[in-house]
Homo-oligomer: 266 residues x 3
Amino acid sequence: MHDYCSQAARNLAAVRQQQPLIHNITNLVVMNVTANALLAAGASPVMAHSTEEVEEMVSLARALVLNIGTLTSDWVAAMIKAARRANTLERPVVLDPVGAGATTLRTRAARQILDAATITVIRGNASEIMALDQGTATTRGVDSVHGVADAAASAAALSKRVGAVVAVTGATDLVTDGTREVRVANGHPLMGRITGSGCSATALIAAFSAVDPDPLSATATALAFFGLAGEQAGTVAAAPGSFQVALLDALYTLSPEALQEGSRFA
Amino acid sequence: MHDYCSQAARNLAAVRQQQPLIHNITNLVVMNVTANALLAAGASPVMAHSTEEVEEMVSLARALVLNIGTLTSDWVAAMIKAARRANTLERPVVLDPVGAGATTLRTRAARQILDAATITVIRGNASEIMALDQGTATTRGVDSVHGVADAAASAAALSKRVGAVVAVTGATDLVTDGTREVRVANGHPLMGRITGSGCSATALIAAFSAVDPDPLSATATALAFFGLAGEQAGTVAAAPGSFQVALLDALYTLSPEALQEGSRFA
Amino acid sequence: MHDYCSQAARNLAAVRQQQPLIHNITNLVVMNVTANALLAAGASPVMAHSTEEVEEMVSLARALVLNIGTLTSDWVAAMIKAARRANTLERPVVLDPVGAGATTLRTRAARQILDAATITVIRGNASEIMALDQGTATTRGVDSVHGVADAAASAAALSKRVGAVVAVTGATDLVTDGTREVRVANGHPLMGRITGSGCSATALIAAFSAVDPDPLSATATALAFFGLAGEQAGTVAAAPGSFQVALLDALYTLSPEALQEGSRFA
């Protein structure tokens, strides 16, 4: 797995050097948090959701994030429009199916997006990925009621069916393209006590996908980066307020060398 | 008042143990802040405002927050739909009438909600509560132009009229169910210099209401918890940026025992 | 330039003493951040964007902020309605043309607003100001691809054409009313690594405009205040998470005397 460690370092260096513009159509809770995560990591975020401008905006960007938290129907239309344009331009599209399985609207929206456009990477928690695969699992609000291992079969099946890399995040993250599978062991328990940490992971996957043409490696290395930043934050903070601050700091200060050293793939 | 002190400790322990899902239909300014406050306290937040999904979402939740800041008409419809479902399911509903009295839209929306559904707790500042009672008081934007004492009669009248516990927060908070009255003396002046502290108090009242069947005691103890966390933050921070961080930390680290010790009811 | 230094001190003292209510119609990414910046500085923020209430809300306020990030068409209508009422009431209106030049929607919206109402101050980065002047410059998402000096001619031309003070912010800020020109050298590089710093500058310009009848001096002194707060934050924080916290702290703790001392105009 030494392979992914050095790729992680190369990707982080490339994000910082190229500062790729990442177009986010994301939820109202995390807009600020994910913009700051992208900026701290070295990327350049833009948020735009009007159907009148998403095609133009995505054409300026190097990757697109679709996040279905705090969803209404008009946002789904904008997401599909943006994703189709990104497909035409061959830019990666990363989908975060927040709350899929919790409500019909969310599950249906995620499926509509998957039907209407080619998605490069899907990142969710175990319940969300199982809901997308089986259409039956129950999500408790936006928190998973399942462990990552429970979702391994669903992740592989979903990946094969829609042709996307699927990442299930949790204590240990699982990333699969239906054939290959990588596990990422980086992370810290306090990441579950701040809002938007899953959404920030998704945004960072988009940033890494902008500089790494292999979506499996882009996804796994982005998750290692985010997880290691969390570990570093956990060495200086013991509660969510200061942890959040330290996490943003770590996304900025973590060097490619430290990432290569600290990434834990399996 | 020893009664409430030990109830505060029991409620906090129950929130941390049960991690109740709290459904928030809240304003755009504070979504992130209140989600983090709920997470730090031990609850599990979800934000959803589409009329297409609020009924499903609230049926997964143990309490509902309605907050009318940054309001538009379509959100009122979603709030009423969610509140009615919560009523059917006998889940507590907490209303935060942000800016009632400042504009016709806000005052009318708060009254429409009170007419259309049964509200368990209303928490506002003095001007907002007076506006809901009298329909005449003026609110200066979202800040009160009255002290808590000015609103005592309005709080009692409003409580009797709509059958809800009413909390007026300020230097000393007043909580009434029209008959009983509790005052909570916890708090810190810097809470007025960060945005969303009233809204976070409302969200925490919902979390405590999810585990305590008496809305008067749930409200008073949640306010004591939030106020004591503010006091604790004030011992390590002297300006709003670091105070905000320390406040979130305190919501996470405050123990039930320390809450029992530090709560100040009258 | 001693003139502006003492004016900066007077304006800051006046904001803290008068706590002017500032009505913001602003984007979803920065609502929380700019509300907190205004509160820390001593002003009183309110966010309201419904066409049903913006006229009432702005009539309570001492200044209006229009910020076109995360725009949809219905928000433009609300902005114009609010701005016209502010014009009638002779309250200052500050426009932040976030992403003008990046998409047709944003460029067109900014121009519609400028056509429909009298704007007191426009604050943008170099690309945004050039886009408003020439209708041709390209903005890379919401980040400038030009330096402040590139936009000097556009700023002067735009100022003359629409009768507004125009501020171009960057390493050194340029403020012009078409005749007079002031440069503000305060600031810190980390301000570019947190989201919403431009938007916070705009909000503070509105707060200073509420207490200073000369929009050129209000704008320049607000930018000096914000820049100096950034410098102060940079002495205690070396990464974006902690910088953001320290910046809010500095907006609260900076004294009028320290501002007079530390402002750097040219």
